[in-house]
Structures are given as structure tokens and as C-alpha cells.
């Protein structure tokens, strides 16, 4: 009998328990700071590997009952609408020498390729949430917002005013705070290294305007201002981020980071996009 997590085939990898723990710990430590979207959207799940779709609670009309049914003139038929979960699998390798060294007590294993895979997996999740994934039938926050995109401009000292106007636009539409500003890495660096006249940190000024956080968000183009009150955005996860086994040779073990997810914007008025 198989269980929902058997598909990861971890038990078949030439990796002792202690080394699995080291790999999982490293994956968790690498992924957690990168998963910006999870800091602002509602997380639903994890529903497990068997979960296949998010129910939209809506239907589409069907042309009628199956052909050949008699006396069906008054029959009403509809089909339920769902949004499918999509699978992400990011491969990486770990040297078997590293696995052996962990068993010897090495505290500094080389997991460079795992770090790269974690960054890719996190960027996929963030980008899906903020900018969508058309092939997976997912619309992102930036695509569904009802407000025109505002340009931040090159002078970061102008940004507090622009962000304040964004917050004001949300509030005028009945969207409550706290608010979060999810910004791409380059913009974030500009924010944290800037001070305004009088020495006031730009980061602190923005946080005061938001009543919330400025979040370093890999995968975000420009910045996205969102309400973090909850109930506006849903990240539906089946298989939450996990490490699975693919195959191995004499020198390396081939693993992967896996996740299944979909994303829905429930309240398009709850986000405001800022372009560079």
C-alpha cells in the first residue's frame, strides 16, 4: 500500500536519516526567507499530493443531458468549475561525499545546488502569486488589480508619497489594513540604504505609512502594495514544499524540491501595483 508521500520515494534514496534531516533543514532554512507571498496571502492546505483542484464555487451551463435521453426537454444541466493545482518540481544534486561527511559529523555540508533550487522554487511561487502563471490558469495579484499602475520613478524620496496615495486608494475602496509593500530585491536595497531629510530612514517612513511591513520579495517586478488583513488572496497548496528523490549514480544523488499549488485573488480591490 502506498501513502500520499510515497511518491517522493525518499525511502529509496541512498541517504541515511541524519543526512535527510540535514538536507531538509537546509531546504527549509533557504526557502523560508524567500517565500514572500506566504507572508501576505492566506495559505490554504496543505491538502496533500492527492488534492487536484480548488473549487471556485461556480458552474458553467451544459448544452444538455447525454445524447439519447428522451423526455429531457426541461432538464437543467451545469458543470462545476474548478481551478486545477499545478505541480512544480525543481531538480538539484547532492554529492555522495557530502552525505558521507554529514554522517561523520561535518557541520558545513556543501548544498550549493540545493540553495539554487530553493531560490528557483521560491521565485516560482512568488511570481505565480504576484504576476500569475497563464499556462497554469492562474491570474496574479498584479493582473487582477482594479487600479491603474502607478510609476515609482527614479527618486526614492518620492516613494513615500506614492505609497501613501496607494494606501489611500485602497482605504477609499473599503479595504482595511495593515498593508504590506512587497518589493523586488533591487528596490528593497534602495529603500533600506536611503534616508530622508532629517535622517529619517525611508524604510521606517514606509512602514509607518503601511502600518505593516516592507517585504523583500524575490520574483516581484517593481512593487505590489497589498492589504494583509486576510481574506483577499488564497494560496491553495496540495503538496507543500518537500524534498523528493529521483535517482543516483556513483557520485551524486539527484533530488528535487516539489510543490503543488494554485492561487486565487478573491478581492481585486485589495492590491495596488507600483512599477519602476
Amino acid at each position: 500500500m502506498t501513502t500520499p508521500s510515497d511518491h517522493l520515494l525518499r525511502a529509496h534514496a541512498p541517504i541515511p536519516t541524519e543526512s535527510w534531516k540535514a538536507i531538509d533543514d537546509e531546504a527549509r532554512e533557504r526557502l523560508t526567507p524567500l517565500l514572500a507571498a506566504r507572508k501576505v496571502v492566506d495559505f490554504v492546505g496543505a491538502g496533500g499530493w492527492h488534492r487536484s483542484a480548488y473549487s471556485l464555487g461556480r458552474t458553467s451551463p451544459l448544452a444538455g443531458p447525454p445524447p439519447g435521453v428522451t423526455g429531457a426537454a426541461e432538464v437543467r444541466t451545469r458543470t462545476r468549475r474548478v481551478q486545477p493545482l499545478s505541480e512544480i518540481r525543481v531538480p538539484f544534486v547532492v554529492g555522495r561525499d557530502e552525505i558521507d561527511d554529514i554522517q561523520r559529523g561535518a557541520a558545513d555540508p556543501d548544498f550549493d545546488d540545493l540553495a539554487r533550487a530553493a531560490r528557483v522554487a521560491a521565485e516560482i511561487e512568488n511570481r505565480t502569486v504576484f504576476h500569475g502563471w497563464p499556462a497554469a490558469q492562474i491570474e496574479g495579484i498584479a493582473q487582477t488589480t482594479t487600479y491603474p499602475t502607478a510609476a515609482l520613478g527614479a527618486d526614492c524620496l518620492e516613494w513615500p508619497g506614492i505609497v501613501a496615495r496607494g494606501v489611500d486608494a485602497l482605504r477609499r475602496n473599503g479595504i482595511g489594513g495593515p498593508f504590506a509593500l512587497c518589493v523586488g530585491p533591487d528596490l528593497y536595497t534602495q529603500i533600506v540604504e536611503s534616508t530622508e531629510l532629517g535622517g529619517y530612514l525611508l524604510l521606517d517612513h514606509l512602514k509607518n505609512i503601511l502600518g505593516g511591513e516592507v517585504i523583500w520579495s524575490v520574483g516581484v517586478d517593481g512593487a505590489v502594495l497589498v492589504s494583509a488583513r486576510g481574506g483577499d488572496f488564497v494560496l491553495d497548496v496540495g503538496q507543500d514544499l518537500a524534498v523528493g528523490y529521483s535517482h543516483h549514480d556513483a557520485d551524486t544523488v539527484h533530488l528535487y524540491i516539489e510543490e503543488s499549488l494554485t492561487f486565487r485573488v478573491l478581492e481585486p480591490d485589495a492590491a495596488f501595483v507600483l512599477s519602476v
Partner: protein, 208 residues
């Protein structure tokens, strides 16, 4: 005589008290030291006198919190039955506030307004923490953990405080409460292929 949970009634007093008593002893010590600080504040004591009282108090606040996080709360999560996850999340959050208060005080000259502000913040967080712990975590653990476990943890708690007196060898840093609980729960129920979820257990990262 057994009380039905493996605990002992009328038994001789153990050489090392159980961990819940040791934690209460520390709480009482904290209350007395903060009361003495009130006296010094009223008498406008000089910085040397204030420092003589504050430094051991600040150090024990840090060591006590770390000892609880390493020794008490992992076992409360295992044995507690009165929502130990919530009790632990509250406690780690309070510990962070206490640490922040101590660090805030340390950034200012002893006796200055900024220093008192930090001291007051640490005290307020500690008062809240002690009240919750004494009414929630400690009773839960007394009711549901075997007396021998509590005594064994008492020994560990005493040794830890002795080994790290004055915060020696400790890195005093805030902890993410949810990550802390998740880590312990992974130890309690390690993911394997024989159970349903083999994920990394990251889940939601929204602030509580």
C-alpha cells in the same frame, strides 16, 4: 503512593525540586529584584548601585528564558494537554519581548531615561509572561507530566543555569515562535514515508 499518573503523594522531597518549582523560584526572584529596583529608583540611586542590581537580573532573565526554551517547552509540547502549542507560542513571544527590553536597556547609560525605558519594557513583558506561565503552562505540566520527568528536567534546568551563569556561552537572540514550535513538533513526530505528510512543514508565514 501513586496518584494514578505516576506521580507521588506523600513521597520524600527530592534532592532537586521539579522544574515547575524551579521556574517559580526564579519568578519570585525576578519580582523581588524588580521591587528593589523600585526602591533604588525612588531614592535616585547612582548608576553603580543600579548596575549592581540590574546586571545579574538582566542576565538571569536571559538565561532563564533560554533554559525554558531548551528544557521546559519542548517537554510541555510533548506532555501538555491544555493547548500547549498556544502556551508555547505565547511564551516564546514574551521571551522575545523580554530580550528586546534587556537589549534596549543595554544600549543606554545605566540610570538614564532610555535605560529605564528598556528596564520597564523587560519588566512588563516578564510580568505578562510569568502570569500566563503560572496559570497555564506550569499547571498543565504538573497535571500531565510524570513527577520523575519533572525532577529530571529540574536537574537539567539547574545544571544549565550553572553552566551558563551570566549568559556565558549563550547567544541571546529572538526566536520565531511558530518556527520554534514547528521544529519541536517535527522532533516529536518526524516525517517519514510511512505517514501522510513528508513536506518541510513551512506552511503559512503570515504573522500571527
Amino acid at each position: 503512593m501513586s496518584d494514578g499518573r505516576g506521580g507521588r503523594r506523600g513521597a520524600t522531597v527530592p534532592a532537586v525540586p521539579d522544574i515547575t518549582e524551579l521556574i517559580l523560584d526564579d519568578h519570585e526572584w525576578f519580582r523581588r529584584r524588580f521591587a528593589e529596583l523600585d526602591e533604588l529608583r525612588a531614592s535616585e540611586a547612582d548608576p553603580t548601585t543600579l548596575r549592581g542590581l540590574w546586571r545579574p537580573l538582566a542576565d538571569l532573565l536571559d538565561v532563564h528564558a533560554e533554559a525554558e526554551e531548551r528544557i521546559f517547552y519542548p517537554q510541555l509540547l510533548r506532555k501538555g494537554e491544555n493547548d500547549p502549542q498556544e502556551e508555547t507560542l505565547d511564551a516564546i513571544g514574551d521571551h522575545n519581548d523580554i530580550r528586546d527590553g534587556v537589549r534596549a536597556a543595554d544600549r543606554h547609560p545605566v540610570g538614564s531615561a532610555g535605560w529605564w525605558e528598556g528596564v520597564d519594557a523587560a519588566r512588563a513583558a516578564n510580568d505578562e509572561h510569568m502570569g500566563e506561565e503560572e496559570n497555564e503552562g506550569l499547571p498543565d505540566f504538573r497535571l500531565h507530566a510524570h513527577s520523575r520527568l519533572r525532577e529530571s528536567l529540574g536537574t537539567q534546568f539547574t545544571e544549565f543555569k550553572e553552566r551558563h551563569k551570566g549568559t556565558r556561552g549563550l547567544e541571546i537572540v529572538d526566536k520565531d515562535p511558530q518556527a520554534y514550535v514547528n521544529e519541536i513538533e517535527r522532533e516529536i513526530t518526524p516525517p517519514t514515508d510511512s505517514v501522510g505528510d513528508n513536506s518541510l512543514g513551512i506552511g503559512s508565514l503570515r504573522p500571527r
